[in-house]
């Protein structure tokens, strides 16, 4: 067994599971902000119920986002101690900012938002949700800054065999950053919007109660998803130029890549400096999914006079489309991350120098353990999400007025625990 391969598999597993949940978090919180703002401005109880129902799903989804995020964060030290040793001074800065200035606040605000229901004034409660949303975006921004530095190391200088940060603004003007950030954020919005549309479609197709409520969230979800798929496509294709420029080996052989490989062979010794073909196959599939989801625009005119609900089959189309953004998210990350193989930091630190010197058996145990744990939790979480979604908006636990006792227990039921 090979420690390096096991460590890479573990990273791929954790990052994928993490991303499936954080994308939904980022997408849903944006829509929640809109719903709660409308509720506070209009005072219409329908918007309160929408906020509670979707907020409940958001909170359940958030649990796994944190759990996998903690593993992600510790994994850098556990499995990739060479990475933290060699480039930690540069790469660690945006990550530290992310955890302290963004995630720390995001989670604290979220706890206060959940438990502040009926305890805080409406304005303060809404401000907390704005805090959650803003810090979520700030978080995404700094993570992308860190990731872009690995894609295209800038603003550093190697002193005493360790990379030192010399030019902080260069991290923020990294050509690998902005288009990718737009791509990822709009993909998250697409996922959140499509999730909202698909769950609403299920309720409308099954003709459960709350027709008016799910009609509203179907419209919100579908329009969000349609707008963001266009953004996803735009930012996606806009990336080909800069990425091809800074990573000539990413999309296969070309004269520039050959020159670069000759240079690396001279500096790092002979080796296979081309990424595996698999990453580009995934990229092709992702683009296909992107085009397929572009057809969401065909459903938008059906919102007129509720034809989308009356015809019923568009509702089923929406439900069938739900897995697509998730698959595309994973394929996109594989293209971005595996596409720079064999480098952790492109052209600077090869993967075999970055992996921790731990025994393969330990790494294998950790891989199997974390895969089973996170896999089980992810499936459990999705089952719970599906159950809560199917239960409808009759009485979500989130934001339940304190005076109203639940049926089976005389104690007041808080949102969790």
């Amino acid at each position: 067994m090979d420690t390096l391969l096991l460590a890479r598999l573990q990273f791929a597993m954790t990052a994928s599971v993490h991303f499936l949940f954080v994308a939904v978090t980022l997408g849903l919180v944006t829509l929640l902000v809109g719903m709660q703002t409308t509720w506070v401005l209009t005072g219409n109880p329908r918007w309160e119920r929408l906020t509670r129902f979707w907020g409940q799903l958001y909170v359940i989804n958030y649990v796994l986002g944190i759990a996998t995020g903690i593993v992600m964060e510790f994994q850098f030290g556990l499995n990739w101690s060479g990475l933290s040793r060699y480039v930690g001074n540069v790469f660690g800065a945006p990550l530290a900012i992310e955890t302290m200035a963004a995630f720390f606040l995001e989670s604290t605000f979220l706890g206060m938002w959940i438990f502040g229901w009926h305890r805080l004034r409406r304005g303060a409660h809404l401000a907390l949700l704005y805090g959650v949303a803003i810090t979520a975006y700030v978080s995404a921004f700094w993570i992308m800054v860190a990731n872009s530095w690995l894609q295209n190391p800038v603003g550093y200088e190697v002193r005493d065999g360790v990379a030192q940060l010399t030019d902080f603004p260069a991290l923020l003007t990294n050509p690998a950053l902005w288009m990718a950030l737009g791509h990822v954020v709009s993909a998250a919005l697409l996922t959140g919007g499509l999730l909202m549309a698909a769950v609403s479609a299920w309720h409308l197709a099954r003709r459960t109660t709350d027709h008016a409520l799910f009609r509203t969230s179907l419209r919100i979800g579908l329009v969000t998803a349609a707008l963001s798929i266009t953004l996803v496509q735009g930012f996606g294709f806009a990336q080909f130029g800069p990425v091809g420029g800074i990573q000539p080996t990413k999309f296969g052989g070309n004269p520039e890549a050959d020159a670069l490989i000759a240079d690396w062979t001279a500096r790092f010794g002979p080796g296979d400096y081309l990424p595996p073909a698999l990453s580009n196959v995934g990229l092709g599939f992702m683009i296909l999914i992107g085009f397929a989801l572009g057809l969401l625009w065909l459903l938008v005119p059906l919102l007129w006079r509720d034809w989308i609900i009356r015809l019923r089959f568009p509702l089923w189309l929406l439900m069938l489309a739900l897995p697509l953004p998730f698959i595309a998210l994973i394929l996109g990350w594989i293209a971005r991350e595996v596409g720079r193989h064999p480098w952790v930091a492109y052209g600077l630190l090869p993967v075999d120098h970055a992996v921790s010197p731990v025994s393969p058996w330990l790494m294998a145990t950790s891989l199997v353990g974390f895969t089973l744990l996170l896999g089980t939790l992810a499936v459990t979480n999705w089952v719970l999400l599906a159950r809560h979604a199917a239960r409808g908006a009759a009485d979500p636990a989130l934001g339940r007025p304190p005076a109203q006792p639940p049926a089976d227990d005389s104690r007041p039921e808080p949102a969790f625990a």
């Binding site: 649990v63 030290g77 930690g88 239960r391 808080p414």
Partner: protein, 285 residues
């Protein structure tokens, strides 16, 4: 500036252990055969603080990575099994506390409660063993990396892990005694007192085990935080001389006449010995 980063690291780690400590303590206490409504009341007492407590760990790891990348790599990879166990525990508690009532049937809740107990135990044990690894020092390979992970499997590490478990349980009981409604809280008060005594005994036992066990040569370049721990906590408990002079154990040691005072760790050592931390810093006391 350097000092500020050390202070931040200490603040966030201490904050995590203090705040999430009672989460895990409460998590362990629900194993004690309480009925469903008591378990629920106990976890409800933690509920509003749970998310806010846990993020301190994430922030601490962020500081560790941002400001101490070298330490992070060696510390985490060098205590791999302990850190991994602690992480598994943290994840289990996170998932258990937040998901146990979603849609809550009795059976599902009981199952989640077991997950919370196991998770709390793993988290407390794991961080305890990491602390023990820091206290006893880590063996280094010639190239300067921490050698293997077997140094974590010592009686001292086990004793420290158990001591941390005892501490978090006592912490959790104290928290519940303060936080629960008066009737419930008063019921817990004697239990909290007993647990506090147990915790003190456990910490003492760990210190004694540590005093009588071998320790690894303190590393020069990596965990300075280990030095701090050593100074504040470990050294006062372990003033036993080494067998370096060949005359058998120096415990109980006679009071030395002349002492060397170390500027680095503020510890006095018997004359003729070098301070463990940095021989160049010795100065006559």
């Amino acid at each position: 500036m350097e000092l500020a980063w050390y202070a931040l690291l200490g603040l966030f780690f201490a904050g995590y252990l203090v705040l999430a400590g009672y989460d895990y303590g409460v998590g362990l206490l629900i194993a004690g055969g309480a009925d469903a409504s008591r378990r629920r009341a106990a976890l409800n007492a933690v509920g509003p603080f749970f998310l806010g407590n846990e993020v301190w760990l994430v922030a601490a790891a962020g500081v560790l990575f941002g400001a101490f990348p070298l330490l992070e790599g060696e510390l985490l990879a060098g205590s791999y099994p302990a850190v991994a166990a602690a992480l598994v525990g943290v994840i289990l508690v996170t998932a258990g506390v937040q998901l146990r009532s979603r849609p809550g049937s009795g059976g599902a809740r009981t199952a989640w409660d077991r997950v919370i107990v196991v998770g709390s135990l793993l988290a407390a044990l794991g961080w305890g063993v990491v602390l023990a690894g820091l206290l006893q020092g880590v063996p280094l390979r010639p190239d300067g990396h921490v050698a293997g992970v077997t140094h974590l499997f010592t009686p001292f590490a086990a004793a420290t892990g158990l001591a941390l478990v005892a501490l978090v349980v006592a912490h959790g009981a104290t928290f519940l005694a303060l936080r629960l409604p008066a009737v419930e809280g008063d019921r817990l008060r004697p239990l909290a007192r007993r647990l506090l005594l147990t915790a003190i005994v456990a910490v003492g036992a760990a210190a004694v085990v540590g005093a009588f066990s071998e320790r690894y040569a303190p590393p020069r370049s990596v965990p300075r935080s280990a030095y701090c721990w050593w100074c504040c906590w470990w050294w006062p408990c372990s003033r036993r001389g080494r067998r370096s002079d060949g005359n058998g154990p120096a415990w109980p040691s006679r009071p030395p006449r002349r002492r060397w005072h170390c500027r680095c760790c503020w510890s006095g050592r018997p004359s003729g010995r070098t301070c463990w931390c940095r021989p160049s810093n010795r100065a006559p006391h």
